[in-house]
Symmetry: C2
């Protein structure tokens, strides 16, 4: 098989060729001069059709929610489809000064890890929770790639409610993949590392990469009612790089599949070293059997140290617990649990079609796309059609599991999605196009250029049993000239493509926040009706909540000052505080007394070494401040809340350390020296 | 004059009425059931027109850049107009984990203040730099409201290049306002505070608010060539709250105007206490005369302590300097420099029309909009038509300076913009509408509902001598049901309105990031041609830059380790580092060797207590890491850069403290144990 890497070796100087590959557009197969990619019909008519197709008139709602990973911003972006409008950024793994996430006392613990407080991650794959193999609109699971973690977002509130660290992982890339009824969310390591099996250290020379580095795949149990996660067990796997994963469906629903690269086990210069073998592997794991083995006592245990952070519902405050061990299975001890399927070469995406019969593997350096048959795989296992083994894991014969190959699909295939009508769509990174082909005969039937260097594709539900085959979103890695230039740093670019007809039609370019890797989408009515509008004040169990203005107070205990405050249009209670001293630790606990939709109040103190905090109606949030110098510090509402928002302001007086100014605060009840104003109550 | 506050006093319970005011929609004067606000024509035809008007076909560019303040996220958002697409978020005052701003060693110093490192601010007003009273596309000035600062963004790179703290200020709200040729950028305090005139402390009882609190207005000189800022002098002003500002033009170009509220000097319960007087003031300051007084030795000096942070061009690294005093003028010593114009009541916006003759003041509790005449003001000053004085500042008689009032414009007028065709557009917060009126006869000619509770308006150049009177953007404070619901926390909402004809037409709703206050826009060709595509490697003066792979190395000095690294598709040099110990301070200085547009590389280390850093081509950026436990840590590229991006990865081995593992790193030159791979060079 001719592969790109062979071309690299034999043709022009490597660096130059790699750059050409990355640029992508140079190799486009059918780019149009107008950049629309819509050949045939007149540009104007197409443009007008497309305009109408993506226009959501003022006051109307989008048809779908889409959840795009933020990649290197660590967050999730919610876009409306088809408008491409950014509805919200949900903070997950990164501090978010906008609303205080990771800065205020209630959310800081969400970012605790075994490495300490980590204010960032690299979020790649959002996955919606499932019922019967389709999206159920309850939760969104996402992975932290850098410091291995899985997070859960509650789609009632669009808030991150749980983050769990994954031990024995380093680059949690093929993660998180829910099974068809959220029995498990599965997470695999991208980078292998030496594992600390006995509670010592894993200080191992990098020269021992080949011998001592190992991968792991984690099985996280999901509480069917509340969604809470718990690490059930891991499977320790050979020291390859595990790239992407996908779960089976229907006949294959007990299985989960992982692509691997670097089966060469190159420990340096992976660019070259991990691109030598003509075939790496697709790893197939029977998770139901694994769970059975786990129950039947095949488990080992090793010391571990990982954080599990949860948002407490009553106090709306994150709490961390630390887990101290992890249970694991070894494939060589669990026959029938794991197989390797040879896959060309340095495979990236693995995608299982809606029927659950076909596993599509995209080898980023391969010139054809192999489509494996689940039925043939079952037969091959039964017939022991093995081609040796790796670390005790049987390798199935390539031909024995292959349905066929999509021939000459384009250059650099990465990911495939399905429309539920018998078609597959594969992204071509190098030739910058989306290629549509038929699942039955593997024939290419359409292709459309995308700008530029496309990574993942997303069809709403395109990874489930029930795709919504109307739209496809291409998430492109390179933007260059697609938008007005904004200096060296550019937004990434998504493109919305109409796939309702035979030919794909490009509808819209929309820039995206940071780097979307994968995405999910769901019809609006599966989520919108359950959306919470505000928190109920009488369910607020925060220990420092003031549920009415008369409960507001300021107290000192040693050098710690607690200010229990309230906010309501258009004042804080108290709005004047005296008696704070330099070096005190001051906690401002602000309860938003509003009980209506979309009436947050923000709270900030001048010069505080933290962010603001944005308090939703009914909630309590806390800012911590250690004043460094004496003076008078304004505090104020940061979110324009009412006609008298600018008046929603007060002061904190900070006196020198050791001064004898007593704690004093305005209650709003005292008669003020203002005509006609007796009390705020 | 009947005012809202009178209604508040006499009608329903205050809290309920304030909530009704805030909700806004209850009082809309002409809302349509379809929410589009376009009466008359059929909804379908209008919708199709609007769709075409805002649709920017794939590959085409927007007509204008717009710069929306991020409000409580501390950043600037760049949107394309008319598409409403978010092209970029420019980090200014807040840490931005997405690209490492405020986390990496090169940008941390940008967030230094006299209060220490402040990772957030509340950014309200972007203002484009000017030449001859029109936008010149060179820089964008923005204010930090919370910890008083002014920042400058370079529109060649769309990067924040300078942040200067403003002393004697507390709530830098009426800021920054450039004069017609950027002679000065002017910044006023919102909250008055006790000033530390002698270098002691300003620890003053809040009960002395009326006597001891004072405001200040700062005059920042702009270097005409490079744009660098320098605080020239301040004017100390009475202890009111200064809300918004605007500069004169043409005949009034030597003047700058400030609205004030709380001329009552209420120190608590401002919601009520600052709403007593029937009139507050518009402060008029002759800045040219002030500059002359400053030159002529009327200046006093007081101790100060404020930070000035600048991005060094060669090293692309922020450096802080601390200033220790500030010079000031006193209005009572500078005759002719400052006047007060009575303005009803609790005025918010002050906007000067393109001719420079009319000053429009929007009293948020007033039922009419006064329009002042600059010519009449000049006459009144000449004729000494005074109505007493405040702190030695003459108060001009209301009628002597009034051109007239816009009668019954709507409820809660806030801000006015101009189309350059004789029309003014005023936002009505309480009645949620935009009202169009004629500058010549002050008659209302059109009104359109907006959703909901509109704050600022923006017409491109609508605050300059040359408005681009085609579009108006309404920035609304309340969103509620305008988009698919996203839990308690919702995006704010902007609306794009076509103002090219007699009647305003609503074109598009687009959600916005955080809270846009004011915005600016500029035709694309004033900015796009100058946009820098990458940094030139041979101009990189970073002391730790490796300008080629052979310069990469890792060195130890005591417990500090410097790793000078390079990145190029698709590898880091070195990609393996050993000899780091627990407790070392490790600096990774990564130089991106690429010299092409849109080829950043990201760099991250597993578990590091910082963000990633996103390195633009030609630049060097540094992450600091203090490893806490022994082990093997992957590092990798976080921005999908090439077909072999997943292979762009390496490891750092961390050994226990005191171990004898020497520093060792891969050079890419050593023969690797991989067939056919001898060297990366």
């Amino acid at each position: 098989m001719e592969t790109l890497i062979n071309k690299l070796k034999t043709a022009a100087p490597k660096a130059a060729l790699l750059m050409a590959i990355a640029a992508g557009s140079a190799l486009q197969s059918c780019s149009k001069s107008d950049g629309s990619g819509n050949g045939g019909a007149t540009a104007d008519a197409l443009s007008s059709d497309a305009a109408s197709a993506v226009y959501v008139a003022p006051g109307k709602h989008d048809e779908l929610y889409s959840f795009l990973s933020g990649g290197f911003n660590g967050q999730v972006s919610v876009y409306g489809i088809p408008s491409g409008r950014l509805l919200k950024i949900i903070p997950v793994f990164s501090q978010h000064a906008e609303n205080g996430y990771g800065y205020n006392e209630e959310t800081k613990a969400m970012l605790n890890t075994s490495h300490g407080f980590v204010p960032w991650d690299d979020l790649h794959h959002p996955k919606l929770s499932r019922a019967n193999g389709t999206t159920d609109g309850r939760w969104l699971f996402v992975n932290g790639n850098n410091t291995p973690r899985v997070a859960r977002i509650d789609l009632k509130t669009f808030e991150t409610v749980e983050i769990m660290e994954i031990p024995n992982s380093a680059g949690n890339h093929c993660s998180p993949y829910p099974t068809n009824n959220n029995e498990y969310v599965i997470a695999g390591t991208r980078f292998s590392v030496p594992l600390d099996m006995k509670g010592g250290t894993s200080d191992v020379s990098l020269e021992n990469y080949e011998k001592e580095f190992r991968g792991s795949i984690s099985f996280i149990k999901i509480d069917p009612k509340e969604g809470d996660m718990e690490l059930d067990f891991q499977i320790l796997v050979p020291g390859f790089d595990y790239d992407l994963a996908n779960g089976g469906k229907g006949p294959s629903e007990d299985w989960v599949f992982f692509t691997t690269y670097n089966s060469e086990k190159a420990g340096t210069l992976k660019e070259i070293g991990a691109s030598q073998n003509d075939k790496d592997y697709l790893a197939a794991i029977n998770w139901k059997l694994a769970a059975k083995y786990a129950k039947e006592g095949k488990l080992h245990e090793m010391p571990a140290n990982y954080y599990h952070n949860k948002m407490d519902k009553g106090t709306h405050t994150a709490k961390s617990t630390v887990k101290k061990n992890v249970r694991y299975l070894l494939p060589e001890e669990c026959p029938g649990m794991m197989y390797l399927l040879p896959a060309p070469k340095s495979p990236h995406g693995i995608d299982v079609d809606p029927s659950g019969e076909f596993m599509v593997v995209s080898g980023k350096l391969a010139s054809a796309i192999p489509v494996f048959s689940f039925a043939k795989m079952q037969d091959a296992i039964k017939n022991k059609a093995f081609d040796g083994e790796k670390n005790g894991i049987p390798v199935l014969k390539y031909e024995s599991v292959l349905k066929g190959e999509v021939k000459e699909p384009g250059l650099g295939p990465l990911h495939t999605e399905f429309d539920g009508k018998g078609n597959a769509y594969t992204s071509m990174f190098v030739s910058s196009e989306v290629v549509k082909w038929k699942l039955n005969d593997l024939k290419v039937v359409d292709r459309i250029p995308v700008y530029y260097s496309v990574g993942h594709l997303m069809i709403p539900g395109g990874d489930t049993k029930e795709p919504y085959g109307k739209y496809l979103v291409a998430m492109n890695k390179i933007t260059k000239d697609r938008y007005l230039p904004t200096g060296p740093e550019l937004a990434h670019a998504a493109q919305l493509i109409d796939i309702s007809g035979e030919k794909m039609k490009l509808l819209l370019d929309f820039p995206t926040v940071a780097e979307p890797h994968y995405a999910q989408a769901i019809v609006a009515n599966k989520v919108a009706p359950n959306s919470v509008k505000f928190h109920k004040l009488d369910e607020n169990k925060h220990p420092q909540a003031a549920r009415k203005e008369s409960e507001a107070n300021v107290t000192r205990k040693g050098n710690v000052v607690h200010a229990k405050m309230t906010s309501i249009r258009s004042h804080f209670t108290p709005d004047n505080i005296e008696g704070v001293q330099v070096g005190d630790t001051v906690y401002f606990h602000v309860t938003n007394l509003e009980q209506d939709w979309d009436v947050p109040h923000g709270f900030a103190v001048m010069g505080a070494n933290t962010s603001e905090t944005l308090i939703m109606p009914g909630a309590t949030q806390t800012l911590k401040w250690v004043p460094k110098k004496a003076g008078v510090y304004p505090m104020y509402c940061t979110d324009f809340c009412s006609a008298l928002h600018q008046e929603m302001q007060g002061y904190i007086r900070v006196s020198p350390k050791g001064s004898n100014v007593p704690i004093k605060f305005s209650t709003g009840k005292k008669k003020q020296n203002i005509p006609g104003v007796a009390s705020t109550k």
